[in-house]
Symmetry: C2
Subunit: 332 residues, 2 copies
């Protein structure tokens, strides 16, 4: 059975379902004919946005709830055959200002969800959205899953713990689970309201508003990027097979690009915005990791997936989306 066919009539749940990746996944699952439950806390400042499900609002079930709330999660997981676990606090900066909240959301809540599955739906399958951030500053490039986990901030630590919980619940309690370590995901429906959730959404906004992007240092640090539709396909592939259970996989893009070349490309594609190079702010430098790009061959050897959207195409689509809907993402 193909991954697409697998989801027809399938009862799935997405935590963080109104957020960036979660809502794109929801759109795709609706197209595939799945029965989709979206769980989201809609905490202000986080990525959840009701506009993200515009067009499918009558084809999904939305349940506003916080993944930290155990009794709610105990109820909601019941009968859900696949759980895409994407809820999280994703700001590295916030995690250093308020580490306890980051721990509650990224660490404790994962345990709450997994305990809910263990006791109320042990036959389910959980796909956890992890992050390249857990590797910290790479020893060598590209980074494989054999690289040490060595987070440089509290957010990375809590995401690492969240990932480990999933693998242990798979191995010890038989709650099937795996983790996808995403690199830099971009595309429609990402939060643009503030710059504390990574640079890419913020760069897109500045270009759209014809403002200046400040690149830290000389912009030589390299990254890889995944267009959100490709990330969605990775989640779908992982959810539809048991060949990935109990493991963590890099999910990155094929094109590596420096910040310098990236901002140049963004300005060129959009035909607006500009950029300049500035000194590293001390607090950001302290948790910077230099260049990073991932080797995703382990995942690609296990499932039928590869990124299909090239950078230029992906950013063109991204700008097109936000040009239409910017006011839904940026307070006027």
């Amino acid at each position: 059975m193909t991954a697409d066919a697998f989801y027809r009539g399938r009862r799935v749940m997405i935590t963080g379902g109104l957020g960036f990746i979660g809502s794109n996944l929801a759109h795709r699952l609706v197209t595939l004919g799945a029965d989709v439950l979206l769980v989201d806390s809609l905490i202000p400042e986080y990525g959840g946005n009701l506009f993200n499900i515009s067009g499918i609002e009558n084809k999904v079930t939305v349940n506003v709830a916080d993944v930290r709330q155990a009794s709610t999660m105990n109820y909601l997981v019941q009968g859900r055959e696949v759980i895409f676990n994407l809820a999280g606090q994703v700001s590295h900066i916030d995690s250093m200002r308020d580490p306890h909240t980051d721990l509650e959301i990224n660490c404790r809540s994962q345990l709450t969800l997994l305990e809910a599955c263990r006791h109320h739906n042990p036959g389910t399958k959980v796909i956890f959205a992890s992050t390249r951030q857990i590797y910290g500053k790479p020893d060598q490039l590209p980074v494989t899953e054999r690289h040490l986990v060595r987070p440089t901030d509290v957010n990375g630590i809590n995401k690492a713990a969240g990932e480990y919980y999933h693998l242990v619940y798979n191995n010890v309690f038989g709650v099937r689970a795996c983790a996808l370590r995403l690199t830099n995901v971009y595309g429609p429906r990402q939060l643009l309201r503030h710059n504390r959730q990574g640079f890419i959404g913020w760069f897109v906004r500045l270009v759209l508003e014809n403002k200046e992007i400040q690149v830290f240092g000389d912009g030589s640090q390299i990254r890889d990027f995944v267009y959100v539709d490709d990330a969605v396909e990775a989640f779908l592939a992982a959810g539809a097979t048991d060949t990935v259970n109990g493991e963590a996989f890099n999910v990155g893009g094929e094109e590596h690009i420096s910040h310098r070349d990236l901002v140049k490309m963004l300005v060129e594609i959009a035909g607006s915005g500009r950029y300049t190079f500035v000194e590293w702010p001390a607090d950001k430098k302290a948790i910077d990791i230099g260049s990073f790009y991932a080797d995703s061959s382990l995942f690609r050897g296990r499932v039928d997936w590869k990124p299909s959207v090239r950078l230029r195409e992906g950013f063109a689509r991204t700008f097109e989306y936000y040009r239409k809907h910017l006011r839904e993402y940026v307070p006027q």
Copy 2:
């Protein structure tokens, strides 16, 4: 200055100070002339035991408190030049039954202590008691610090997160910290009341009570052991130098021994007890890691430390201690 001289008049604090390693460290620090504050929650079933400071009770300050309690920790850390952070929930079995409590004590409380230091005593130095358990089942032996962190139970995950927090607070906030990944520590003042805190204390008790040790499987799994006095010296060495800041180090023993040979040796030294081989219980097999011994050369290259107590001598001293004081450790 030698590590010994360093502690004269030094204001130190030990979390978990009434526990096994903490109390042995306290005895040594009193001898060295330090000003010692012991913080312990004295939670029943955990390792804290007032008898552990018998003989030095008038030379230390005992403050009963829970490391989870932020305002208390904010107060207690003030003015403490070195903090030995040993408080923890150490039962792997308990962590799988009640993962949230393990998270609170091993993960959240580390953040609470480090936040207390960051805001109320940023000049202090913290030495965190980590564990070989974070490595999980080894890919190769001996295990170096380059081995992946891949915990097999919730306790291992939370200890790993606790360790990472210390390193991040060192690197980002300048709260000097390091972590010692201890292998199997044994010796006087260890909890013997139940068998949920690792096998070694339990084996010692069974031998002392002239009972039968049940060895799982064929007993071929290998371990290394550290006599508690050697572990204490490792903590003292780490606390007295800045050459270890921001890193995690293996602290293991030099002799590797199979469970089979270990129990044979224990029975022989004690002149009591016996042993038999039984099938692995399923719940224990699920989190077993096979053979493990650590390479401690990174730590030994950084500080003046090596284990000095051989296994036979260490267990002879251990039996001698408990023969005198068994009723303080085992309810009659």
